[in-house]
Structure formats: structure tokens, C-alpha cells
């Protein structure tokens, strides 16, 4: 199996390249690094300039040379140039052609350093990929030989969420990483004017936490019973007044990735970020893997069967 990674000719894609190398090294998969260049226009009044096409090809080659230099060791990679209408479409085509089971993309330079920021290409990938999409944080770098040490699955307590945990458990076991289940509680103080006191919301949160902990315990039991189960499994809750605080409330380490399922209401096969998932993605301090619902079921099935 293969991991497809898009490398922009402007050289911004180093974060994505490092993340892809880390994932490939951990899972024992090889990479396809592609640079996407615009398709030539059909012959016609536009009379495309051959020199310009040559220039684009040259830039793409240089970009791939950059990528070769920057790719950390310990992972097999091939480098290709692909012509397509747009960058996201090109990356999706490459992923299809090479049978990739994961696409890796980078963060936009408009976001905070060390956080995930969705640029236009990544955003489009997140809404149309049929396979999981990993997004590096801005400025992500992995030291040589660095591997995934812990897979954190975002857990919302629903049925799909348990599948996601099981799928993540299978992947974690394959990578030799531990599994962590995280739920987020984002609530602010109630208005003083309501007259129910400042801890009115706390009791609601306690109730929620009790329920989600029980559900998470069930999911952990399920994950432990798998043919190949991760060594360590734990469940945590991140509290905060906003998503930023809730995500920071949980402890993160290098070698962490956060796995998020796509929305239950989007198309079955494709990634489609729900409101909560997109908030988690945008505030994540570690690389995120977004898994479409169809792929969740597939991963969970593989984990149950103990294959792959």
C-alpha cells in the first residue's frame, strides 16, 4: 500500500513531506510524492506557449528535487509529476492511480504555527477524498527515525465513533503505537443573569462526563478484544471554555496523531467535515487524520478480522 503526498512547487510542503515520512515509516508503507502542474490548454485561440509549459515542467522538477533532498530517511518514495486541472484534483487522481490508502496534505501558511490550518487545497481534499486524509500542522517537522507513538481517536459517544475507535486501534496496533480516546467538553459559564448559579453548567457537564466515560470504557473493552490490540489504551476528556482550551487541556507529545471521523450526515464514502470535527481539526496542535465514514467501517472491519 501507498501514501500519496502532494508537494507544492513553491516548497511549502515540507510539513506534509515529514508527516508522510513519519506515517510511512511507522506503517511500513512507501510514498508517492507528486507535484501537480496545470494541464496544457487544448489547441485553439489560446495558442499555448510551449516555453511556458517548459517553464512549469522545470519548476515541478525543481520542486521534486527539493522534495528528494528534504525527505527524511527510512522510507521508500517515488517522485512523479502529474498534469491536472487543479492541485486537489491532481492529488486525488494520483492517489487513485497508485492505489493509495492515505493522502497527506500540509497546512496553510495563514494559520498559527504548530496548529492545523486548512488552505484551499487541503480543504477541497477533505471534502472529496475517498480515503483518509492526514493534515500536518503548520511547520511540522519530524526528527529522523521518529515514529507514531500514540494514536488519539476523537470520540463523540455515537455508534460511528466506536467504529472509529476500533479502526484506530487496528492502525495503532499495526504501528506499534498506543491508543488514546479523547472527548471534548466545550462549555462556558452560564450567564449570571439566569439566577441558577455559576455551577449550573458544571452538573450538566458531570452528567455528560459520566455517560461518555461509560461509553468510552465500552469502546476500550471492544478495542482490547481485537485480535491485534494496541498495548496501552486510555481515555481522557479535554475541558475548556472554547475549543482551543479544550484541546490544550489534553496532554500532547511528539509522535501523536489525532484521528477524527467525518460527519455522519455527509456522503457515505467521502470525507465531509462536520461542525465539531472541523473545530477539532482547526484547533489541533498535532497532525490530524480525517477518516471518511466508509473508510471507518473498512478499517474497523480489518481490525476485527485481524488482517492488514
Amino acid at each position: 500500500m501507498t501514501i500519496a503526498v502532494g508537494f507544492a512547487p513553491d516548497g511549502r510542503g515540507t510539513g506534509a513531506l515529514h508527516l508522510a515520512a513519519m506515517l510511512g515509516r511507522s506503517a511500513g508503507e512507501d510514498l508517492v510524492v507528486c507535484a501537480v502542474v496545470p494541464e496544457p490548454w487544448p489547441p485553439g485561440v489560446a495558442r499555448v506557449d510551449a516555453e511556458y509549459q517548459a517553464y512549469l515542467a522545470q519548476t515541478a522538477h525543481e520542486a521534486l528535487d527539493h522534495a528528494r533532498e528534504r525527505l527524511p530517511g527510512g522510507v521508500e518514495a517515488q517522485f512523479i509529476i502529474h498534469h491536472a486541472r487543479s492541485a486537489p484534483a491532481g492529488i486525488l487522481e494520483v492517489a487513485d492511480e497508485h492505489g493509495a490508502d492515505l493522502i497527506v496534505a500540509g497546512s496553510s501558511t495563514a494559520g498559527h504555527h504548530g496548529h492545523v490550518a486548512l488552505g484551499s487545497t487541503t480543504d477541497r481534499l477533505l471534502h472529496s477524498a475517498h480515503v483518509p486524509v492526514a493534515v500536518a500542522t503548520r511547520g511540522f517537522r519530524c526528527p529522523p527515525d521518529c515514529r507514531i507513538t500514540r494514536v488519539t481517536a476523537a470520540y463523540g459517544g455515537s455508534h460511528h465513533a466506536e467504529d472509529l475507535v476500533v479502526g484506530a486501534a487496528g492502525v495503532a496496533a499495526r504501528m506499534g503505537a498506543s491508543l488514546r480516546i479523547v472527548s471534548f467538553a466545550v462549555r462556558s459559564h452560564p450567564p449570571y443573569t439566569s439566577g441558577v448559579g455559576t455551577s449550573g453548567e458544571q452538573s450538566v457537564l458531570r452528567e455528560w462526563a459520566t455517560e461518555i466515560e461509560a461509553a468510552a470504557r465500552g469502546a476500550i473493552e471492544h478495542a482490547r478484544s481485537l485480535p491485534a490490540a494496541p498495548g496501552e489504551i486510555e481515555a481522557v476528556i479535554g475541558h475548556g471554555r472554547n475549543w482551543d482550551e479544550a484541546l490544550e487541556d489534553v496532554e500532547w507529545a511528539p509522535g501523536d496523531v489525532l484521528v477524527v471521523g467525518s460527519s455522519a450526515i455527509g456522503p457515505l464514502a467521502r470525507v465531509f467535515l462536520g461542525s465539531r470535527a472541523s473545530k477539532i481539526v482547526r484547533h489541533s496542535p498535532v497532525p490530524v487524520v480525517v477518516v471518511p465514514r466508509g473508510a471507518v467501517a473498512e478499517l474497523a472491519g480489518e481490525a476485527e478480522a485481524g488482517t492488514a
Binding site: G156, P191, Y192, T193, V196, G197, H239
Partner: protein, 478 residues
């Protein structure tokens, strides 16, 4: 087995409340950060806007221009009760509603009575303000687009309509927001307070131009009893003052700050109310108040002959009453949530949706009941029911302060009522005085409601009480 009396007087241990709310963990810990100025503003923000936009229409026909004195009477009683409430609140280590305070200090039976009153103070008042909102919405639509919603779908059956649809829509909208997990931030709250104060100041400034001393010639046509009956309705516009006490654990130097903030907030609120009332009764003859819709806006329109001040006022009212309704329904769902935890109402009320982290069933049930009330009941009845519920809740609290001083003199209290025992006694007397001048129908309906609540308690609450179950579980495992 415990006797019936022991059940009714069972108190919730403070340690349990702390554990439930998570106050001992870092998520619940609050720094003492609120000063006198901020707390006063909270008081003003929580109080203004609940009733002043709608009570004059009902109160003036009962008291005449002397309604001004009704505001003073209601204000003094509200202040006394709020101070008593602050002592009860400070005896409990976590913040909560009057229901939780009563449960921790006065026992399960009293807590149930207080809860029954709170359903009126929150649920019914949400219905009342929603009806008021529909009137101002209609006024606004009329002024802006020359379009009014027909009476049959914007009035209660008693007034010749079928269903008050705008009020129902407002409540449904608020419930949807609450289900999604919306919460009013401090900033929104401040903006709302400014809007409310702004439109009231606009009313005073513009309305003054319509001053007609003749309107005041027959100042108190119904004498003293008229003043107190009107005070009963007006009390509605002072609910919210007690919200100051629920911020207790965050207040710096509560012993001094708490009473001062209550008094300052009361002075500010009462002054504004009195000015509004004087301007209103001087601007139009008493007879015109009866049945007037969107009262303050209508007066402005008559005074100026232009529609813009009325439009501005109606717009301000539509925005700010919306936020009041949201906050009040929020409070109601959280009180029912606490009762659900304690086993006083079915466990359905403390189910939390894992996605939105909000008590969805409780919110839906509240919205359905409140919208039914708002849809079919006239506003004066709703306002009076709210007033009597609040008054009885405070009556119980004031008596509770006296009882606690005798039964548990050593209980640590963060704040003690100044001038004990005069203050709580005056507070009790004031509540009774206002209650006995309310319409007979209001009192009967209230007694019926209290009876229903007690029957519910003796047939459901007493058996399902979470405390009783915990006690019995302890007895079973020696």
C-alpha cells in the same frame, strides 16, 4: 425506615453538592474576581427588561398614576427578600438556584415547594415576556412595513385570538439555540443591558415632552389597596435581582459587597422604573392604558406624532426581550436538570445529549409547555402568576433564614443579613402584604398549583429521592 417527617426534612449534604458540580476540581474552581461595580451591573442587567416593557398596561388601570408608589413598594420588598436570599445562598458552599439552596438547608419538602414556585418564576415568566415580545414585534412590523400580524394568530383566546404564534416561535427559537449549546457571553449580556437602558432612557427623554399635569390630577383613584395590588403585578419586573446572590462564591469580600450591590442595583433599577412610570402616566390619561399593546412604544408614538422613536424603542425591546427569554428558559432547564439528578422529577430531565452537551429532553419539554402557556394565556395572568410564584419563593426563603438561625446557629455563613431579625421579618410581612392584594383567581390558581406540586412530591419525589435511595443502599450493606 425513616418516618415521613424525616423524609420531608431530609437535607442534601454539602459534600454531595460539591461532588456533583465538580467545584473541588480545577474545572469548577472560581477565583474571587467580581467587585462591587461589576456585581451591581449584573444586578441591573438581570433585573431590567423582564417586566418594565409590559407591566404598565396592567398595573396602571389598577393603581392609577399612583403606580409610581407601587414601584417603590415592590422595590423595597424585592430588596429585602434579595438580601435574605443572599444569606441562604452563602450558607451553601456551591452556587446554584434557590431550589438547591433550600434543599441543602431547609429540607426536601421545602425544596419541592420552592421548585414549584421557581417553575412559575422561570417557566411562566418566559411565557409572559414572550407574549410581550410578540406585541413589540407587531408594533415594529407595523411601523417599518405597515404590516401587522392578524389578531387571531397573535393574541390569546381570551383577547379574541386563537394562538399567539409569534410568542410560540420565539420560544421555539430560544429552545433550538439552547439545544445547540448557545450560551450568552458576558459581552452579549453587557450589550443587552446597554440596549435596554438605552431604550428606557429614550422613552424618558422623548416621553417627557408629552407631560400633561392634568393626567396626574386624580393621583390615587383606588387608594392604598390599589397601590399594593399593582405592586403585586409590578413585582414581576424586579425578578432577577436575586441573581446577584448566585454569584456569591466569586465575589470579593461578599459580606460587604453583596448587600451594597443589591442595594445599589435596586436603587438604579427603581429610579429608572419610577422615571418611566411617571413619564408614562403623565403622557396619557389613565383610561388609555387598559389593553394597550406594546405600551411604551404606543405612548411614544402618541406623544411625538412621529413613528421613529416608537420604532427604535420597539426594535430595542424586540432584541433585548429575546435575550431575556433565552436566559430564563436556560435557567428553567438547569433547575429541572438539578431536580432530575435529585430524583424529584423523572430521570428524563437529566439526560444530556453527548454531541451538544445540553439537556435536550428537558429543553424540549420546557419549550413545549412554555409555548403552550404563551400561546393561549393573556399576559396579565402570566405576569401575576410569575409574581406570586416569586413572592412565595422569597417568603419561604425569608422564613428559612429565621428558622436556620435558630436550628443551626453555628452553620458557617459567608454573608449574614444586616439588622436581623428585623430584616427577614419585614421581608416576610412585605411578601404577605403584596400577595394578599393580588386577584383572588391568581391566589386560587397558585394554591392549586402548590397542591399539585405537593401531591407530586408525596407520590413521586419522596420515593424516588436520590438521597433516600443512597440512605437505603447504605442500610442494606451494613
Amino acid at each position: 425506615m425513616a418516618s415521613l417527617g424525616e423524609h420531608v426534612l431530609r437535607r442534601k449534604p454539602a459534600a454531595e453538592m460539591t461532588a456533583e458540580t465538580g467545584t473541588d476540581t480545577d474545572t469548577g474552581e472560581l477565583a474571587r474576581s467580581i467587585g462591587l461595580f461589576q456585581l451591581t451591573l449584573f444586578g441591573v442587567g438581570a433585573t431590567i427588561g423582564t417586566g418594565i416593557f409590559i407591566v404598565l398596561t396592567t398595573a396602571v388601570p389598577i393603581a392609577g398614576p399612583a403606580v409610581v408608589w407601587s414601584f417603590v413598594v415592590a422595590g423595597v420588598v424585592a430588596g429585602l427578600t434579595a438580601i435574605c436570599y443572599a444569606e441562604l445562598a452563602s450558607a451553601v458552599p456551591v452556587s446554584g438556584s434557590s431550589y438547591s439552596y433550600a434543599y441543602a438547608t431547609l429540607g426536601e419538602g421545602v425544596a419541592m415547594v420552592v421548585a414549584a414556585c421557581l417553575l412559575l418564576e422561570y417557566g411562566v415568566s418566559a411565557a409572559a415576556v414572550a407574549v410581550g415580545w410578540s406585541q413589540y414585534l407587531n408594533e415594529l412590523l407595523d411601523n417599518l412595513f405597515g404590516f401587522t400580524i392578524p389578531d387571531s394568530v397573535s393574541m390569546a383566546p381570551e383577547q379574541g385570538g386563537v394562538l399567539n404564534i409569534p410568542a410560540v416561535i420565539l420560544i421555539v427559537l430560544c429552545a433550538l439555540l439552547l439545544i445547540r449549546g448557545a450560551s450568552e457571553s458576558a459581552r452579549v449580556n453587557t450589550v443587552m443591558v446597554l440596549i435596554k437602558l438605552g431604550v428606557l432612557v429614550l422613552f424618558i427623554a422623548v416621553g417627557l415632552q408629552g407631560w400633561e399635569s392634568d393626567n396626574l390630577s386624580d393621583f390615587a383613584p383606588f387608594g392604598f389597596s390599589g397601590i399594593t395590588s399593582a405592586a403585586g403585578i409590578i413585582f414581576f419586573s424586579y425578578i432577577g435581582l436575586d441573581a446577584v446572590s448566585t454569584a456569591g462564591e466569586e465575589v470579593k469580600n461578599p459580606r460587604r459587597t453583596m448587600p451594597l450591590a443589591i442595594i445599589f442595583a435596586l436603587l438604579i433599577v427603581t429610579s429608572i422604573y419610577i422615571l418611566v412610570a411617571i413619564v408614562a402616566v403623565a403622557a396619557q390619561p389613565m383610561a388609555d392604558f387598559e389593553g394597550q399593546e406594546a405600551g411604551l412604544a404606543a405612548i411614544l408614538e402618541d406623544v411625538t406624532g412621529a413613528s421613529w422613536p416608537a420604532t427604535v424603542l420597539a426594535a430595542g425591546a424586540v432584541i433585548s426581550i429575546f435575550s431575556v427569554t433565552l436566559v430564563v428558559i436556560y435557567g428553567q432547564t438547569r433547575i429541572l436538570f438539578a431536580m432530575g439528578r435529585d430524583g424529584m422529577v423523572p430521570p428524563l430531565f437529566h439526560k444530556v445529549n453527548p454531541r451538544t452537551l445540553t439537556p435536550v429532553p428537558a429543553t424540549i419539554i420546557c419549550a413545549v409547555v412554555i409555548s403552550l402557556l404563551a400561546g393561549v394565556l393573556p399576559i396579565d395572568f402570566l405576569a401575576e402568576m410569575t409574581s406570586i410564584g416569586t413572592l412565595v419563593a422569597f417568603l419561604v426563603v425569608s422564613i428559612g433564614v429565621i428558622v436556620l438561625r435558630r436550628t443551626q446557629p453555628d452553620l458557617p455563613r459567608g454573608f449574614k443579613v444586616p439588622g436581623y431579625p428585623v430584616t427577614p421579618v419585614l421581608s416576610v410581612a412585605g411578601c404577605i402584604w403584596i400577595i394578599q392584594d393580588l386577584r383572588a383567581v391568581t391566589i386560587y390558581v397558585f394554591l392549586g398549583w402548590a397542591a399539585v406540586a405537593l401531591v407530586w412530591y408525596f407520590f413521586y419525589g419522596i420515593r424516588h429521592s436520590a438521597l433516600r435511595r443512597a440512605e437505603e443502599a447504605r442500610e442494606m450493606t451494613p
